[in-house]
């Protein structure tokens, strides 16, 4: 019986390792290829062992000006998250407090609608306002992903907070908004962190909105990486270096703040 259990445990561990390896492998492959020359990638003899080069990263930053795109992506992700929080936190609080489930449903629908459904009106309106290729258009469009998500996460977070706390503060002469800022906001820090990181990541990763609304000046990283590919001959090493540059910050943030990310990704599903 004991031997059987031990054997079973080993099999289990083996399977876990296989699963993890399978899911991490593409990252490993991406990083490896980013240090290879084109010739090394083209030949089948240098799969794991080769003389690494930094040339790809040099070309990404020096020839293709990626610092500018990193900055663009950062600005758009930062401000769309910030404005999303400013609009989303009070709204989520009021929806949870006054049980405005109808509004909650509208927010849910905003998450369901395919993003491409807005692209034509936005494109027309932003063109007419001269806002194509500006941060304004990008931030507004990215907020559309971030804001409903922030509200969605925060409603379920506020619903778990005891409302008596707010009532106690009001007995002591605090206004509702005062209680919100001084008591409920600090209490909901973990929820705010979850919502902000994921809203930031969604914006950083967003491809479709930027594809239509960004221009040369405001191009975000995903578009820059995508354009990198459309040159006549594919420079695989450079492409992989670009892929590393865009994913690495996200992977590091995720590893550091994994607890928040997992709770954000699974919110609303378990509760039923």
């Amino acid at each position: 019986m004991k031997a059987k259990k031990l054997w079973f445990g080993r099999l289990n561990l083996f399977l876990v390792i296989v699963v993890i390896a399978a899911f991490l492998f593409p990252f490993f492959w991406m990083i490896l290829a980013s240090f290879k020359t084109q010739a090394q990638i083209m030949s089948n003899e240098h799969f794991l062992f080769f003389k690494p080069t930094l040339k790809n990263f040099y070309s990404v930053f020096e020839e293709h000006n990626f610092l500018r795109y990193i900055w663009n992506s950062f600005v758009v992700a930062f401000f769309s998250t910030l404005f999303g929080l400013i609009l989303g936190l009070p709204a989520a609080y009021a929806i949870a407090k006054f049980k405005q489930h109808g509004l909650g449903l509208i927010i849910l629908i905003a998450r369901i609608i395919p993003g491409i459904s807005f692209m034509i009106p936005w494109f027309i309106i932003f063109s007419n306002l001269g806002l194509i290729n500006t941060y304004t258009a990008l931030i507004l469009s990215h907020m559309l992903v971030g804001l409903p998500f922030i509200i969605w996460v925060m409603i379920s977070f506020y619903e778990t907070l005891p409302m008596e706390l707010e009532e106690a503060a009001r007995v002591d002469g605090c206004t509702i908004q005062g209680a919100f800022v001084r008591i409920m906001m600090p209490l909901s820090t973990p929820g705010i962190i979850t919502a902000s990181i994921l809203s930031f990541i969604f914006s950083w990763n967003n491809f479709m909105f930027s594809l239509v609304l960004a221009g040369d000046r405001t191009k975000t990283l995903p578009i820059a990486v995508f354009n990198f590919m459309s040159y006549s001959e594919i420079n695989w090493g450079g492409l992989m270096a670009a892929a590393v540059v865009i994913t690495l910050p996200i992977l590091i943030i995720s590893l550091a703040l994994q607890k928040y990310i997992i709770s954000g990704m699974t919110v609303g599903a378990v509760k039923g």
Partner: protein, 306 residues
Amino acid sequence: MSSINRLEYAFGKFNLFVERHVRTIFILPAVLFVLVMIVFPIGYTFYLSFFEWSMSGVAKPKWVFFENYKTLLFEDARFWSAVWRTFYFTIFALVLEVVLGVAIAVLLDRNHRAKNLVKTLFMLPMVATPVAIGLVWLLIYEPTIGLANQILKWVGLEPQLWIGSKSQAIPSLVLVDVWQWTPMIALIVMAGLTTLPQENYEAAEIDGASSWQTFWSITLPLLRPTIFAAALLRSIDALKTFDIIYTMTQGGPGFASETLNIYGYHLGFQYFQLGKTSALLMLFFLLILVISFVIIKIRQRLEVYN
């Protein structure tokens, strides 16, 4: 009254005003944003779907009534293939993701020591930038230098064209989607597993049930609402998959991987047939609403049944 006092007085007045209308003031900005950025565009798309227009400043939009819808539904073979491919992609990916996700969740749940580390590593595919992911898989699928064919060669199989072949394009894209999104299903199911009541398991152990029996007759039925919720979230996103498909194949080869989302993008932003695109987007929007509604209804039915 000193000016500081006056300021204080005004501030107090303001605070009182905010307090009295707190519900409106807290919700209104977000609602306005949603109205301007979501409701209005949808309405505008609906309006445009009755016109023929290529966004030229010279030619005004031309009222054609239901012509765009008629063309799409009855004359456009490309539209119906895109509908079919959208479902093919979604169902194929969803089935694999749910089966693998549940299996992996159960597997990881037993492994207590490394659970947190494993969860952390496991979450990385779904937060990574899809465009970058698409490029990495493009290299893996590359027929002459890619790893996929190299592996087939080591095992003694014929090399394949992967996304370069009409029949393999969608399955190859599904594999990427499965790689990226199985972790989400697994993490949701794992969270669900921690909420299951322990008494049932103790009873099963006393009755001498095998682990397979326990899984099949206790774990799975209890997990059903969780699995359903995860599948609902995933199917809605899978129907809308854009980034991976657009970076890897742009809908090709030919139209072999052109889903509704990709067709809509081509029609709108390459051919600039804005009226027809709007009609397509309305149909796509309707389709997603109907599917979500049906899934939610089925779920409620199941809950009542339970």
